[in-house]
């Protein structure tokens, strides 16, 4: 029994770290910009598909692909916040109205990105596996890319956390999240900060997509399901909580592996939902969320 559970849990942690990375980006965007960005999964898709194109078409090592696609996705996210969401915020009569309108606008953007991608790459499967050889670790066999993606996701997660908590820019981001008005009075260029935070979220989603493309055959349709997973993870971890998102991502990864291993793969989403329902009833602020 233990021999069966332990590898599942480890693979779950490896898989979950990628979910955690995606959720961190989403959490940042909601926590700072108040935009529930349901386009998030489409950025994951763009990251994955661009990595495939670079890897197969131009022979770029997938580990280096973020150097090219990272700035691109950051720029798209930055511009979205600087134009669309900023404009919506200026017109909205109340913060609640802004959240609703931003959600619906994100919905439109989701369609735009998804169908531009479908027109460009069609809906076919694009396999660009990387590092597929087996390594032995603690007497268990793992595919190398699982360990590599885990290491990258963990390193990035820690880096983003340190950036937000230690650096001057990070402090400005947190101040803007807490109270944009006061932050502006203290000399923070809040519009710049909001756009930067949104771009950073898009960048994290894109790198998450790169990591996914090493492990699975990607396609232009994978956006929606990744948005759903990222949203569930974000609520589990506590809306707006960055470490919470990462922890919840790993939890979801473990649960998905255990469900797939012992029950039925098709039941993973229903089980996430059961977890979400229980959590919302018991502790709506999430696992690590503030009261």
């Amino acid at each position: 029994m233990v021999e069966r559970i332990l590898p599942l849990i480890l693979v779950g942690i490896f898989q979950g770290s990628v979910y955690g990375l995606l959720a961190m980006g989403l959490s940042l965007q909601y926590g700072v910009c108040r935009v529930l960005n349901i386009t998030h999964g489409e950025f994951v898709m763009l990251g994955a598909v661009l990595t495939y194109t670079l890897h197969i078409g131009f022979n770029v090592n997938p580990l280096l692909a973020p150097v090219i696609l990272g700035p691109l996705l950051f720029a798209i996210g930055f511009l979205l916040q600087a134009t669309l969401f900023r404009g919506l915020k200026a017109r909205a009569p109340s913060p609640a109205a802004f959240e609703g309108n931003a959600l619906l606008a994100a919905f439109g953007v989701m369609y735009i990105i998804e169908y531009i991608a479908r027109i460009t790459w069609s809906g076919r499967l694009m396999p660009s596996y990387y590092l597929v050889d087996i390594v032995s670790f603690l007497g268990m066999d793992f595919v190398k890319n699982q360990i590599v993606t885990f290491a990258i996701a963990l390193a990035l997660g820690v880096a983003v956390y340190l950036f937000l908590s230690r650096s001057r820019m990070g402090r400005a981001i947190r101040a803007t999240a807490e109270d944009p008005g006061t932050a502006g009075l203290m000399g923070v260029n809040t519009n710049m900060i909001l756009a930067f935070a949104f771009g950073l979220g898009a960048l994290l989603a894109g790198i998450g997509g790169t990591l996914l493309s090493m492990k699975i055959a990607v396609s232009t349709t994978l956006g929606f399901s990744n948005t759903v997973i990222a949203l569930i993870v974000v609520v589990l971890g506590g809306l707006g909580s960055i470490p919470g998102s990462f922890v919840a991502g790993i939890l979801i990864g473990i649960v998905s592996m255990l469900v797939a291993g012992f029950l039925e793969p098709v039941l993973t989403v229903p089980i996430y939902y059961a977890m979400l329902m229980v959590l919302l009833l018991v502790r709506p602020t999430g696992i690590l969320g503030k009261k």
């Binding site: 349901i38 404009g87 959600l103 369609y111 735009i112 039925e264 996430y272």
Partner: protein, 329 residues
Amino acid sequence: MDITRFISTHRKLLLVGFLLLILIFITTLPLYARPSDVRVLTTILIYVVLAVSWALFSGTTGYMSLAPAAFLGLGMYTMALLQKELPFFLIIAIGGLVAFAFALLIGLVTLRLRGIYFAIFTFGLVVFMTEIIQFLETRLWGRHGQAIIPIDNETLLYTMLVLVVVTVLATYFIRRSRYGLALVSIGGNEEAAEHMGINTTRTKVFIFAISSMFMGAAGVVTAPSLIYVNANIAFSVFYSFMPIFMAIFGGMGQLYGPVIGAVIFGYLEKTLRAQLYSYFMLGFGIIMVVVILFLPNGIAGLVPMLQSKLGGVIARLQKGSQGEQHANT
């Protein structure tokens, strides 16, 4: 002069006459139109029900439900499972009740919390339903999908017409009732509404369940025209997003806004989607963003805006000419 006065004094009468004309047009359509046109009209009516009932809850309160398809699909499956046991009209009522009960459950869990939790929860609900139904079908019933006995076009059209009338009337009366006022005040400022003595959670849950009930009933009528449904068809994300597009495009401030949106997009969808699917959906996304950014009240909001602008211009012209007359005398 007399005509404008006639219009302003007999506004209600004219409106009723206009609605009667539309009703006559729809009821007599099967006499002279092709069967395919009848089917297009039936689909448009389905979208009208979805868009109007979506706007009833989400448009007024600002709580974005992203899962109309979950309730539509429930209706379709109710039809699939009960079609041999019960008469069609009874199944419509049952489909509505099933959706009502399911929405009640979801509302009780999520509508106590801030709106964003509700949006998140409903966003993935369609995926949840798809996978649960797939699991039940393969594991318990041992088959994939359900065949549905077709029903003739005219019956479906007239049933749908009755459903549209019921939905629109119900929405009209709810909007004018205490519940309607409560919904609008929740949308404006929920905390203030609570302090005014409105039981906000009960109001939200109840209206959400009512709006889902109409979607479920619409699902029952949709199923026979599809002949076959499985989890992926019944709970297609597309059915979730279309009503939202339509309601926003038409405008949610007035009752007729979502109706206009549903008629325009329902027609376009039926005629264009088959050939240019990707470009069609891309256009949807662009229109959605543009409408939210520049026309927050949709097409219906355009009319009063133009009226006030034109009215201002006309008044200025009239004043100008009057001034000239004064100067001349």
